[in-house]
């Protein structure tokens, strides 16, 4: 039997951020994740934005955490080598009605202590964003809305936590939780039973299922599907900022923004579905994206799409982000309703959770050898010719370009596989180094990446999966 102090259920943004926060203390922590990789679910399919919280419901825990998290990203991204850019967002008012709603939006931002929201005139907006609808009446500018690589954020948190001694049990599902006298006892998993004092439920979409294991499911998680388009870096119509629609009472609406790698992201839809697995895109959903975004950016060229995907937001019913600890179940911490702002607030909620644990009696002391920095995978494409020359000399595999669309070398792929919490699947490689994320979508590099994973992990190509177990890439040898 495994023995630990804390079990974190779920290795998404929140689970990994808590793991990293706990890794600063002398504690044994195990993160249990059902999928084959960290950040393999809700944390991977979102709009990749670090929000300011200007539009959160004032006074809520969610608002407090988002507003607190935003300024933390500059230092974090520097420490953990995460691609991050403060590009800012604009909210263009296209109709008279939208224009009239701007003061209320600004007022809400003030209530949330986001004081740097500014009004911009039509001329100013068109100068910032020439592809905006020329009918624009004016709008708001939110300078600290930022873009990030959401995959690397989660990986970096996990890797750094792992460097500092946190264990990750991937491909492992929690099957039950044994409680003792008003306290947590054991966590049963598909990889064995873990004796633990604390269980932190960060299972996002499945947090109600975990809560049910300890009789604390007084809420339901409803998956809200969001469909997106990713456009080619060479698309004819780009935006410089995050272009957000004016929210209506019904929906926050569909946005268009650059990704940290220079693609354009357009979406999402918002549709409540009756299960937690259906990540299919639909013609109807994708068509509504075109209709809505064209109101702001008439020239958006969705024909330049290189992929479409959908993500499931874990929407809580009753609504709202909640943090719960229980007197009658000591050691159990329940996080629920972490929605699209979860990517932003993962780092503040991590601190909040640990503070609450300490306040409620967890005895801890700091590690004196905590490693606060993490170095990312060398990015060949962004190096100078001299740096490229040097790295090829050190490791010739950096001279073998495998993914031609994104200029990704064998050296980077091998690094992604062998680093801490390394990649074991095609998607995990893709999310670490972008091999297969370009315009050919793995048409050329896919077969080569299968070979590299098989070789590096000493498995057969038939054992290489796209992501989770069962998603095999090739069926058998031809002869």
């Amino acid at each position: 039997m495994m023995k630990t102090d804390v079990v974190i259920v779920g290795a998404g943004a929140v689970g990994c951020a808590i793991a990293r926060e706990l890794s600063k203390y002398k504690l044994d922590v195990i993160v249990v994740e059902k999928k084959e990789d960290v950040g393999g679910d809700a944390s991977k399919s979102n709009s990749a934005i670090i929000h300011t919280g200007y539009d959160a419901a004032p006074g809520t825990l969610e608002s407090q955490l988002v507003v607190a998290a935003n300024p933390m990203y500059d230092a974090l991204c520097k420490d953990l080598d995460i691609p991050f850019e403060r590009i800012g967002a604009i909210l263009p008012a296209i109709t008279e009605e939208q224009f009239n709603s701007l003061p209320a939006i600004k007022e809400k931002a003030m209530k949330n202590r986001v004081y740097d929201v500014e009004f911009k005139t039509k001329e100013e907006l068109l100068a910032i964003e020439p592809n905006l609808n020329k009918e624009v009446k004016g709008g708001l500018y939110i300078p600290r809305e930022s873009i990030i690589d959401p995959f690397i954020l989660v990986q970096a948190l996990a890797e750094n936590a792992n460097e500092n001694g946190i264990h990750f049990l991937l491909n492992t599902e929690v099957t039950g939780i044994q409680t003792g006298d008003k306290c947590i006892n054991m966590v049963e998993t598909t990889a064995g039973t873990i004796d633990t004092t604390y269980v932190i439920n960060a299972a996002a979409l499945h947090c109600d299922d975990i809560a049910a294991m300890v009789g604390k499911a007084d809420y339901k998680i409803v998956a809200r599907k969001g469909e997106f388009y990713i456009l080619d870096k060479n698309t004819s119509c780009k935006v410089n900022k995050i272009v957000l629609p004016i929210p209506t009472k019904v929906t926050k609406g569909k946005l268009m923004c650059p990704t940290i790698h220079g693609n354009m992201l357009v979406g999402p839809t918002a549709e409540d579905i009756d299960n937690k697995v259906d990540k299919s895109t639909s013609k109807e959903g994708l068509d509504t994206i075109a209709v809505d975004v064209k109101k702001m950016i008439p020239g958006v060229a969705l024909r330049d799409t290189i992929t479409q995907y959908s993500g499931l937001r874990p929407n809580r019913n009753p609504e709202g982000l909640r943090f719960d600890m229980y007197d009658d179940l000591k050691g159990y911490i329940n996080l629920s309703g972490v929605r699209s702002t979860g990517l932003t607030l993962c780092i503040s909620i991590a601190k909040y959770v640990v503070e609450q644990m300490i306040e409620h009696g967890m005895e801890v002391s700091f590690k004196d050898d905590f490693i606060s920095k993490r170095k990312g995978i060398p990015c060949f494409r962004l190096m100078t010719e001299e740096e490229q020359e040097e790295i090829i000399k050190k490791d010739s595999r950096y001279g073998n370009i495998v993914c031609r669309c994104e200029t990704i070398t064998e050296g980077e792929i091998v690094n992604a596989i062998h680093r801490s919490v390394g990649a074991t699947s095609m998607d995990a490689v893709k999310r670490r180094v972008r091999a297969g994320m370009g315009r050919c979508q793995g048409g050329f590099c896919g077969p080569k990446v299968i070979e590299i994973i098989a070789k590096e992990l000493a498995i057969s190509p038939e054992q290489v999966n796209k992501n989770i177990s069962g998603s095999y890439m090739v069926a058998r040898k031809a002869r």
Partner: protein, 428 residues
């Protein structure tokens, strides 16, 4: 940084690059260097192990590797040099240099007298045509599956649905069948075949594989691996007809939905690209808008037969060599080729007029299939060339030859019309 000097640098060692290299050497270029990203010469032909290549050029039926092998051997015998496992990441057309990356040599600066672009093309993907549904494993472009089976000995699946009746799709239908997989259907959204008729006969009909014209995949199903697809008939606006939707059980979807010239390098270098072909604009010498840069093969426009690639590429190689040796006849002026009735594109897009008459072949594709047509070329309202054809098809490249002395105005227009003048075909 290592520097390599050559007269003609050829980017890509597939059929286009090899033919260009051979021609450049024969024309008298001293040092001809092929830069190839794969570990062997031959390009995509290495995985095309089926016969059917060289019927026009060699008057013999060869496999892909055999066809490429003939040129690779000839190139070697002529003293063409090559650097394998090397990828060009940057090109400076005016300076006539290119930066390449290679495991053995690191970053290499290649300095040339002229450059020939021969990077070929890539396949359109699921995302390009926006197929809704989940994103499970088991959705492959036909070419990727072909590489896996023919070069890596891996079967991608057992029960296959193929979307698109392009040549690679049909050839893969036969290949998968021969390897013991079941090909359930080939689905084509158009009401006519996308590839060559001979491939339909030899790859589908002979194996009893059903071809569903005017159909498309409306949804891909499966979470880990593909478990099936929904297929529906489409109306005349290519929209699926809901009532006709049916579910087909399968574990693999292969896509053969078109090819796109691979011009990232070309665009990055600022060389003008034609929006219809997606390839650089060239004249009859296969010279791009940047005078020291030539281009040939599928990087210029997607060809139907490799034999045509060879002929076109030999021109590129020959004139790239002449450019370095400064032996080319001086140009007087340049005119444009314009698409008329039922012509999708023409290659070359520019025609150089010199003081000598030249016979120039204008290669083109039609927009819609038609029987008993007359192909005409007019210049300043005067017909300068004309020929008849029994049948034209968007899947097959046609050509018509003109005499440059007959060209009058600033442009020549190619049109394809029904014989007898009646029933004009769809206009652009």
């Amino acid at each position: 940084m290592l520097e390599m000097k050559c007269d003609v640098a050829i980017i890509g060692g597939g059929p286009a690059g090899l033919s260009a290299a051979v021609a450049a050497k024969k024309e008298g270029a001293d040092k001809v260097l092929i830069i190839e990203r794969d570990n062997a010469l031959g390009g995509i032909l290495q995985q095309c192990i089926h016969p059917g290549f060289g019927l026009n050029y060699f008057k013999a039926e060869l496999t892909g590797p055999e066809y490429a092998g003939k040129f690779a051997e000839e190139a070697k015998a002529l003293g063409v040099e090559c650097i394998l496992n090397a990828m060009i990441i940057n090109m400076l057309p005016v300076e006539k240099s290119a930066i390449c990356v290679n495991e053995e040599h690191g970053v290499v600066n290649i300095k040339a007298g002229s450059i020939v672009l021969a990077m070929g093309c890539r396949e359109r993907t699921r995302a390009n045509i926006v197929i809704p549904g989940t994103r499970p494993a088991g959705v492959y472009t036909a070419g990727a599956a072909q590489r896996l089976i023919n070069r890596q000995n891996e079967m991608v699946g057992e029960k296959i649905v193929i979307l698109g009746s392009g040549d690679i799709g049909m050839i893969m239908a036969r290949r998968m069948t021969l390897e013991g997989a079941k090909v359930v259907a080939v689905i084509e959204i158009m009401d006519y075949l996308a590839g060559l008729t001979r491939n339909r006969v030899q790859c589908l009909d002979d194996f009893g594989i059903p071809l569903k014209l005017s159909h498309t995949i409306t949804k891909i199903v499966g979470n880990e691996r593909v478990i099936g697809v929904y297929v529906a008939q489409v109306d005349n606006k290519k929209q699926p007809i809901k009532e006709t939707e049916e579910y087909i059980d399968c574990d693999t979807v292969l896509l053969s939905v078109g090819l796109l010239p691979e011009n990232e390098l070309t665009k990055k270098a600022g060389i003008e690209v034609n929006p219809i072909t997606n390839g650089p604009i060239v004249n009859q010498y296969m010279q791009t808008a940047s005078e020291a840069v030539f281009a040939c093969g599928n990087v210029v426009h997607v060809n139907d037969l490799v034999d045509n690639v060879t002929i076109e590429s030999m021109k590129a190689g020959k004139y790239a060599a002449q450019y370095v040796m400064k032996t080319r006849v001086e140009a007087i002026r340049e005119v444009s080729s314009i698409t008329g009735d039922n012509v999708r594109y023409i290659c070359p897009q520019k025609i150089v007029i010199t003081k000598e008459n030249e016979k120039v072949r204008l290669y083109f594709r039609v927009l819609t299939p038609e029987f008993n047509v007359v192909i005409t070329v007019s210049s300043n309202g005067v017909e300068i060339a004309k020929k008849k054809a029994k049948r034209v098809n968007p899947g097959e490249i046609e050509f018509i030859e003109i005499d440059t002395v007959k060209v009058q105005g600033e442009e020549v227009t190619v049109s394809v019309n029904k014989q007898g003048g009646a029933g004009l075909c769809a206009k652009k």
